[in-house]
């Protein structure tokens, strides 16, 4: 018996034989000409296109499409051309050399960019297979198995017959890796970063615990039975990760999507969002040189509301400023645009535009079944909240709220909640204002990190008032899309999360493994840290 530890990314217990997926190693020399290698690249790109079309997992689709674009890359082709001699060359070496500089550049950039290096390896692998006339080694799983691999590419997961895959163990990757997302999507137990998994042999009998992040090779029957029994007890207390977003203890957390146009909204519906938590109205005006008429606006909002039937949509009134220019608003040049006339402050000079927006939203809402909420951006004081609420209600808007994105608003959140029905934290701006660091300045990106305990304590203040006064408090910044941070925000009193619709699935899966009190306890510890890194590490340790 041997135990291998990893990071549990999708809960559940399963025991089954290992199905080891090894990539074929290409030992032989592959001779060929320029035209052969180019046509192999094109045919790989075509295969990837059709795989992208087959999969309905957006995350896999994006990666596969990017790989197809790399295979068709004109710069790559000219590099290959310059490397290939008159006579036939070993195409493996040509490919490796043509990728070399790109790999170095991408690795040096780190993060997402560095991860693309694995795409280059994948493409090389596929092209060599193609040149050797090898069919993509299809992974034929015919009986219940636990899939074990070094790593699974999106293309792999698009071709595997997942019916018999009862669990996933990969030795590489982290909690946000492709494998983790796929596993949660399928609802099967999985662990990633399982160092030592490469020693598992095909056919070994495994006991996989995705909640604890452990896989046991050759387990005893007592071990299997007790793990299954324990998991059943845990599972009975939880619900499945379908339906609305909720924690393990069934506390509901609204999971909504951010959108700025009808296409985004359509996608949100396809990806099972419970509604829209932030509909940005400024994008509707970006290509307009004059202000759209009320009728034009009503038509647009009606189209949106119709799509969402009786779901919830939170509309944000015009959020523009000299840093976010809208063509028909001639804004003055400001010394300090982030601190200038932006968001709700536009009402000082352009009250009519905001009034017309509210009127159009109200007319469209009246004609629909949609649960329409409206909020104003950049509210700084309780007085501004009162002013907005008065204006919105005078047009017949039923649910009126504000965005809390300045420290001033967060600190006086009790006074602001007294004026409105709900609030939503704009974590990107709140972070830049708390840290006094421009969110657009990449030199300061270490400071503009929402994990910073200063920012989290600010959110804690607003969150505690929301809880005390029983008012909904949302988040509509990027923070909500980070599963770990989402859990901390919930622990601080946030009741709904709005994010890019692609992230919903992952956040939904992660929070369903946690209870409210776990989130609260961890949040209390995290706000006592002294750096963003420390805060994140602690959350990771406590919640994963």
């Amino acid at each position: 018996m041997k135990t291998i530890n990893g990071i549990g990314v999708s809960p559940g217990v399963v025991s089954a034989p290992a199905f080891y997926v090894a990539k074929t190693k290409h030992a032989e020399i592959v001779l060929g000409s320029l035209s052969e290698i180019l046509s192999a690249l094109e045919s790989v790109a075509k295969d990837l296109d059709s795989k992208a079309a087959q999969t309905n997992m957006t995350i896999a689709k994006d990666v596969i499409e990017a790989q197809a674009m790399i295979a068709r890359d004109p710069e790559l082709h000219s590099k290959i051309q310059s490397l290939i001699g008159e006579s036939s060359s070993d195409l493996r070496i040509v490919l490796e050399k043509s990728f070399e500089q790109f790999k170095i550049d991408l690795t040096n950039l780190g993060g997402y960019f560095a991860e693309r290096v694995s795409d280059l390896d994948e493409i090389k692998h596929l092209v060599v297979n193609k040149l050797l006339g090898l069919e993509e080694a299809s992974i034929d799983i015919m009986s219940d198995s636990i899939l074990v691999a070094e790593d699974l590419s999106p293309a792999d997961t698009a071709t595997i017959n997942l019916k018999f895959v009862k669990g996933l163990v990969v030795s590489k990757g982290g909690p946000t890796s492709h494998t983790a997302i796929v596993a949660r999507n399928l609802g099967i137990p999985a662990i990633v970063g399982a160092k030592g998994a490469e020693n598992i042999r095909h056919g070994d009998f495994l006991l996989l615990n995705g909640r604890k992040g452990v896989v046991i090779v050759d387990p005893s029957s007592t071990e299997i039975n007790s793990a299954i029994k324990r998991e059943r007890e845990l599972k009975n207390k939880t619900s499945r990760v379908s339906g609305p977003g909720r924690l393990k203890d069934k506390t509901l957390v609204n999971l909504l999507a951010n959108a700025g146009n009808i296409q985004d909204a359509k996608k949100a519906l396809e990806l099972d969002a419970e509604g829209i938590g932030l509909f940005r109205t400024e994008l509707l005006y970006l290509n307009q040189t004059k202000i759209p008429t009320i009728n034009e606006q009503v038509a647009l909002f009606s189209e949106l509301f119709e799509m969402f039937n009786d779901k919830k949509i939170i509309i944000r009134t015009l959020d523009a400023g000299s840093d976010k220019p809208v063509p028909f608003l001639k804004s003055e040049k400001e010394e300090n645009p982030a601190l200038g006339v932006r968001g709700w402050r536009l009402v000082r000079e352009h009250k009519q535009i905001i009034s017309e927006q509210l009127k159009a939203i109200s007319i469209a809402a009246e004609k629909s079944k949609c649960d329409v909420w409206v909020m104003a951006p950049m509210i700084d004081t309780p007085n501004e909240a009162k002013e907005f609420s008065g204006l919105a209600k005078s047009f017949g808007i039923k649910k009126v709220g504000v965005m809390i994105e300045t420290p001033a608003a967060a600190i006086l959140a009790d006074k602001i909640f007294a004026e409105v029905d709900f609030a939503s934290l704009g974590t990107n701006d709140l972070t830049q204002y708390v840290m006094a660091a421009d969110r657009l300045d990449s030199r300061l990106s270490d400071l503009t990190n929402t994990w910073h305990p200063s920012v989290l304590r600010m959110i804690q203040i607003a969150g505690s008032y929301a809880t005390k006064m029983n008012k909904p408090l949302g988040v509509c910044g990027e923070a909500g899309a980070d599963p770990l941070l989402a859990a901390i925000l919930i622990g601080l009193g946030v009741t709904s999360l709005s994010m890019s619709s692609n992230s919903i699935e992952e956040v939904k899966g992660f929070i369903s493994t946690l209870t409210k009190s776990q989130c609260e306890k961890t949040a209390l510890k995290v706000v006592r840290c002294s750096s963003a890194e420390q805060a994140r590490d602690l959350a990771q340790k406590e919640l994963n």
Partner: protein
């Protein structure tokens, strides 16, 4: 030749979907388009690998140039792809 300068709006920088959108648009236009950091050597905007290797981050300025005098529409589309955030 027309040129324009804009700032990267995407929180994640010019990678993943934003980069793919730019490359797709440029490839389908058939025009010769380059991207560069200010005062640095330009790269082919139809090349996914080159665009990714620039490693442009949010808030950085990027110069776009098109080898044509009649591609104002295309320029406008590229600028708006780069300077409009996909998400908050």
């Amino acid at each position: 030749m027309i040129k324009a300068t804009t700032k990267i709006a995407h929180a994640v920088g010019l990678h993943a979907r934003p980069a793919a959108m730019v490359v797709k648009l440029v490839s389908s236009s058939g025009e010769k388009v380059t991207l560069s950091r200010l005062n640095q050597s330009p790269v082919n905007a139809a090349s996914m690998l080159s665009v990714l290797s620039l490693g442009l981050k949010q808030g950085e300025e990027v110069e776009i140039s098109i080898d044509s005098d009649e591609a104002n529409d295309l320029m406008e589309q590229i600028v708006s792809l780069i300077s409009t955030p996909l998400d908050e």
